[in-house]
Subunit: 191 residues, 2 copies
DNA sequence: TGCACTCACTAACGATTATTAGCAATAATA
DNA sequence: TATTATTGCTAATAATCGTTAGTGAGTGCA
């Protein structure tokens, strides 16, 4: 292959196409075309299309799991933990925007048993998130609100971030983005 | 067909399966199976699978467009308009949760030229939304913040709502949900 | 030099899938 | 009752797609 590391180019193109046209909407031939290769050649790099998806998704799953665990185990207050989780999300999204997009949009195309493993991991992540929020309500740092509702609202607020990195050519300052996101989630849009 | 109106059952099953397994992951045979029919029979109800997707999506597109236009044309203040837009989203999502889910997840599988029409409609919707927010900043009702960032954050905050209606069997009070969503977006989660 | 590994190819298979054609039974309607 | 529309079927087609098999050129290394 042309590039220094052929497999990395292959992975990058796969992520892009899966994100743009969806997992089922992308043929192995589409990926190969963009690399100037034939479809069967790709099986030198990966066992199957499904295995490729698993690799792409669970690589990010582990990063989010580790990021969350480190924060939860820390001695921060709940509010500080919430800020740290938001910052962790911004950072991971800034580093891997396309792959985070895949995680958000294409997880449902995982096959058993990987689909169930993914769903359990996500449930666990959300319950860790919810625990932090519940503790914040108990200490009085966070507003009293339906726990599930607040959990999903905050998660959804930061989930779109990967789109922020797509059309922009200018460099984005992740620290400033993190500050804005924390301001939005904590203070809302009203003065 | 069994039910009173066969086509309505067909539409409902299609929405459910497209949402669960994705547009490309759902075969016409899958839909037919769930109805106790054969795949070719479905072509009595619809011209093509792609035409079915278009019908399902643009029906919701029109509802959101009309809802937005009515609010923008009103004489509400910007802050009141923002609240009304959130309320409109909650109401449409409460009425058609699965179809709203489709709108969020499956639009990318529209074919030209419908894909472009959809994207232009969404861009227009977002620009109306952004205009309301910008006016709110000008009148001082809303916090000074990057306009694009706030627009996407608020939109994303309310986009997940269709998931709220999936696993729940209890009836949800849309008025209370609307109140909570407005509180979250305007005030955030901090005390 | 000889050996093994990497990475590319072509050919082909088997499965899936959207869709059309043609036909029959039933329901609605004139 | 005669006719027309609705709603279902089976059979078949044409295209797409993931994947395997088998091969060979080049590269690194013993």
């Amino acid at each position: 292959m042309k590039g220094i590391n052929g497999r990395e180019k292959f992975i990058a193109v796969s992520i892009d196409l899966f994100l743009e046209k969806g997992f089922n909407g992308t043929a192995m031939q589409d990926i190969a075309n963009q690399l100037g290769l034939q479809a069967p050649t790709l099986y030198n790099y990966v066992k199957s299309k499904q295995g490729l998806l698993q690799e792409l998704l669970f690589e990010m799953v582990e990063k989010f799991e580790k990021g969350m665990a480190d924060i939860v185990e820390s001695s921060y207050t709940p509010l500080e933990k919430l800020k740290a989780i938001i910052a962790m999300n911004v950072r991971l999204t800034a580093q891997h925007p396309h792959q985070v997009g895949l995680l958000v949009n294409e997880w449902k195309h995982l096959e058993s048993p990987h689909l169930e493993v993914f769903q359990e991991s996500r449930t666990h992540y959300e319950s860790m998130f919810a625990a932090v929020i519940r503790q914040g309500m108990e200490t009085g740092e966070l507003r009293q609100m339906d726990l599930d509702f607040m959990t999903h609202s905050v998660l959804s607020s930061i989930r779109w971030l990967f789109q922020w990195y797509r059309p922009r050519e200018e460099e984005i300052n992740p620290i400033e983005l993190e500050r804005q996101m924390i301001e939005f989630v904590l203070q809302g849009v009203a003065v």
